[in-house]
């Protein structure tokens, strides 16, 4: 509040001592000056523009400068009265931050006043890496131009520095073996509130393989007493380092931009400041000759099979796991040698990193697909994994347990069988199936709609129906009836009579007719029996005699040389047909 009061008071006093009329004014002049011709990239350059004997000059805009970033400006005014002459002076102070190294140019500033042009001289500033200001040890506080308030006159005495922050780089060990894990931490010591931390330097160190720990959302502070001053300590970055070469290796300074809360800002503003860590050196020595090429750290090793029984056609995936802290990414999993009874496929290897507070941990998983060529009990040999333990200084050898699998022809269910790792297949998109091609067939054409199809079906059904009728009705009921049988017998006999050409053929026909009609056996038939039967059936005697006469003549005709003429035979047959019809009526 005091500084702000002073800042407001000065112009007010200047107004009270306003220039009386008639006082002569001195020559107008515009000049410029810089605080240093060589600065560090972390330093701030003060560029002062002085306007003498120019009333209320407007502030030149320097925001267009490419090589400098304007952090802050301030303005001050002076009034002098000397030997009857009045003199006014206005100063604009620019606090500039270089954005790159090299020889940078501050261009001339042009100003026009009452039709007259004024120009300042240009400046060349050499900017080098780091800071040219003395060290950043907290007790020795360096004046910072950020501490100046806006509108504060540089004529006033510098206020004590308000921003108190410095960085320290810490390594977990001062010496290590090649490949051994080191923990590198960047600690921020401050008494101010931090808004943001941004690492500007490259995060890669020559001679090391490193993995940076993820930056947490919030960093819990610790506290530390440094030379009687209590600081809050933040672990702003952490990395696991693995030296790749022996000798003395240096970790270069890392530059950070810290967004610190401004304790003097009325609006809870913040200011960016840059700080660097110190360079850290470490001595790296070679491990023992026997341990060259081995992983360095502490590890666990296991190999197991999810199945103890398998079908000969199955593929079993053996699971290998190596976990621990150390240079996990340098681990090469031991290979499973193939055998006569099984075939080993190339494994799928996945690695995961774990970020324990004390160390970087890692897990390597290898999925080894194995197929079988012979059935029976099968033992996979034990595998050996060796690493170098820097804590004990020994080479540790770990062996897996032998795996036994009973291979048989019995198929296990698909749910329990393991196949090649499916993660190898990644679906990238989806679309409808492609169009169909090939010959077209009119699917609206129907066979059953064709007329011939209907006719064929009807014909088949008609035949079936007739066959059914014949079998079920005709043969069983109609054809088997005595009436029809008699008629059939008469019709058959008459038909045969029409085919007779010789007189001797008549007798057998008549005997057959009588046999079927009377139901007698062939041996029983004689003229006497026929006459008796006719008498019983009341066949007229004349007809019976005629029947027997014709029959007898036919029998005698076989032995007679005299053959009847065709006319006589025809006459006999006609007579016989009439006789048969008459006899048939009587013998129903």
């Amino acid at each position: 509040m005091k500084k702000t009061g002073n800042a407001l008071l000065l112009p007010f006093l200047a107004m009270l001592l306003a220039v009386p009329p008639g006082l002569a004014a001195a020559e107008a002049e515009v000049s410029a000056s810089i605080s240093a011709e060589k600065i560090g990239l972390d330093d701030t350059l003060i560029y002062t523009l002085t306007f003498r004997n120019i009333e209320n000059p407007s502030q030149p805009d320097l925001s267009h400068l490419d090589d400098f970033k304007t952090l802050q400006t301030s303005r001050s005014s002076e009034f002098q009265f000397n030997n009857g002459e009045s003199a006014t002076s206005t100063r604009f102070i620019y606090y500039l931050m270089p954005v790159r190294t090299g020889k940078l140019t501050l261009p001339q500033v042009a100003y026009r006043h009452q039709g007259r042009d004024f120009q300042t001289q240009p400046f060349t500033v050499e900017v080098v890496k780091g800071s040219l200001s003395p060290g950043q040890s907290p007790p020795v506080r360096q004046p910072s131009f950020f501490d100046d308030d806006f509108f504060t006159s540089p004529m006033q005495k510098q206020q004590p520095q308000k921003m108190d922050a410095y960085l320290r780089a810490v390594l977990s060990k001062k010496s290590c073996l090649k490949g051994e894990q080191l923990l590198f931490r960047v600690l921020l010591y401050t008494r101010n509130r931090i808004e943001a931390v941004n690492m500007i330097s490259s995060a890669s160190f020559a001679g090391f393989w490193q993995e940076w720990f993820p930056v947490p959302q919030s960093i819990p502070p610790g506290s530390e007493n440094v030379n009687g001053v209590i600081y809050q300590v933040y672990e702003i970055r952490k990395a696991a380092l693995f030296a790749g070469e022996s000798g003395t290796l240096a970790i270069p300074p890392l530059q950070f931009e810290l967004e610190m809360a401004d304790p003097q800002s009325m609006f809870f503003g913040s200011r960016p400041i840059r700080r660097s860590t110190q360079e850290v050196k470490i001595t790296v020595s070679e491990p023992p000759a026997a341990a060259v090429g081995l992983p360095v750290g502490q590890f666990d090793f296991s190999l197991h099979s999810p199945l103890t029984q398998a079908d000969i056609n199955d593929i079993v995936t053996l699971q290998m796991k190596i976990s621990g802290s150390g240079n996990c990414k340098a681990i090469i999993p031991p290979a499973l040698p193939g055998g006569e009874r099984f075939l080993v496929y190339s494994p799928k290897i996945t690695q995961e990193s774990g970020y324990d507070p004390a160390a970087l941990t890692g897990t390597l998983r290898a999925e080894i697909p194995v197929s079988f060529s012979k059935a029976g009990p099968l033992t996979f040999p034990a595998l050996e994994f060796r690493y170098f333990d820097p804590a004990s200084g020994r080479i540790v050898s770990l062996r897996s347990r032998p795996i036994q699998i009973l291979v048989s022809g019995k198929k296990i269910s698909a749910d329990h069988s393991l196949t090649l790792p499916r993660s190898a297949i990644v679906q990238k998109g989806e679309d409808i199936d492609f169009i169909q091609s090939g010959r077209l067939h009119d699917q609206s054409w129907r066979l059953y709609r064709q007329k011939w199809f209907t006719a064929l079906i009807l014909a088949f059904f008609a035949f079936n129906l007739l066959a059914l009728l014949k079998t079920v009705l005709w043969d069983r009921h109609v054809a088997a009836s005595p009436l029809l049988r008699n008629r059939q017998l008469l019709a058959r006999t008459l038909k045969r009579l029409t085919q007779v050409r010789h007189g001797e053929d008549i007798a057998p026909l008549l005997e057959t007719y009588f046999q079927e009609k009377s139901g007698l056996g062939l041996a029983e038939i004689s003229n006497q029996k026929i006459a008796e039967t006719f008498r019983q059936r009341q066949v007229p005697a004349a007809s019976a005699e005629k029947f027997l006469f014709i029959k007898s003549q036919s029998e005698l005709a076989r032995f007679s040389e005299h053959k009847k003429s065709a006319l006589e035979l025809k006459k006999d047959l006609e007579t016989l047909r009439g006789l048969l019809k008459e006899i048939d009526r009587k013998m129903k």
Partner: protein, 249 residues
């Protein structure tokens, strides 16, 4: 003489049929090429011309594909369903219907067919109606032969069994043939076309609104009354809707 005059006429008809068929095949190949070149609208135009001449599931399927690529998902679904009707249980058709159903959340409500319907669909997919007709004729022929032998050769046990088997076969095939022909004549499947379609308790605007259904929903028509149809989508969703809001499949 009449037969001699009919021969050139029949030959001319056969030649015309072959020429027409060849033209359709060429158009189909040209449409496929257009599709492969990404000219979906032009391919669709050709396919639609072919579908007016030939009823083939491949043409309907490809029309559905064109509509899908042109983002006419409703039309695409209609054609995929029509293709499925001619070729049930085809994997490509089923997949494309599933793909297009993702555009219609309501479509997911369609119930899966039960075991009997699945079996019938499987039979339908494996045995075309024409093949079924041929099988029926063969079964009838077998029946007639066995009956003839039975009548002429008397009671032979083997022939009797053959006759009995052929009778059963003819009955089963005949019944299935009749049901297939009957199903062919009835097109009960339809799909909702318009947004915010309402299923009412009766045929008419005055009836109570029972459900609001979205486009893409497959339904079965169970009754008709003037310009309204009674539809059902599942055992729980049924109602009356105007015909114009549906597309028959």
């Amino acid at each position: 003489m009449k037969a001699k005059k009919a021969i050139p006429f029949c030959a001319l008809l056969a030649l015309l049929a072959v020429a027409a068929s060849a033209g359709v095949q060429e158009d189909f190949a040209a449409a496929n090429r257009l599709y492969e070149e990404g000219k979906f609208a032009a391919a669709l135009h050709l396919y639609q011309g072919i579908s007016r001449q030939v009823t083939d599931w491949k043409v309907l399927f490809n029309i559905g594909n064109c509509h899908y690529k042109l983002e006419n998902f409703l039309a695409a679904k209609i054609y995929f369903l029509k293709a499925r009707k001619l070729r049930p249980l085809d994997r490509s058709i089923s997949k494309n219907i599933a793909m297009v159903n993702r555009r219609f959340p309501a479509a997911a409500a369609t119930a899966k067919p039960d075991f009997i319907n699945r079996t019938l669909l499987f039979l339908e997919s494996k045995l075309s109606l024409n093949s079924l007709s041929v099988l029926l004729l063969l079964a009838l022929l077998l029946l007639n032969i066995s009956l003839f032998l039975l009548l002429t050769r008397g009671r032979n046990k083997k022939i009797f069994y053959a006759a009995a088997f052929s009778i059963l076969l003819v009955m089963a095939l005949g019944a299935y043939h009749i049901s297939r022909v009957d199903a062919l004549g009835q097109s009960n499947s339809a799909m909702i076309l318009e947004e915010n379609s309402l299923l009412r308790s009766g045929p008419g605007e005055d009836n109570t609104v029972l459900f609001k259904v979205d486009p893409g929903l497959e339904i079965q028509i169970i009754n008709h009354y003037r310009d309204w149809v009674q539809v059902t989508a599942s055992t729980q969703i049924a109602g009356w809707i105007e015909k114009k809001r549906l597309a028959r499949i």
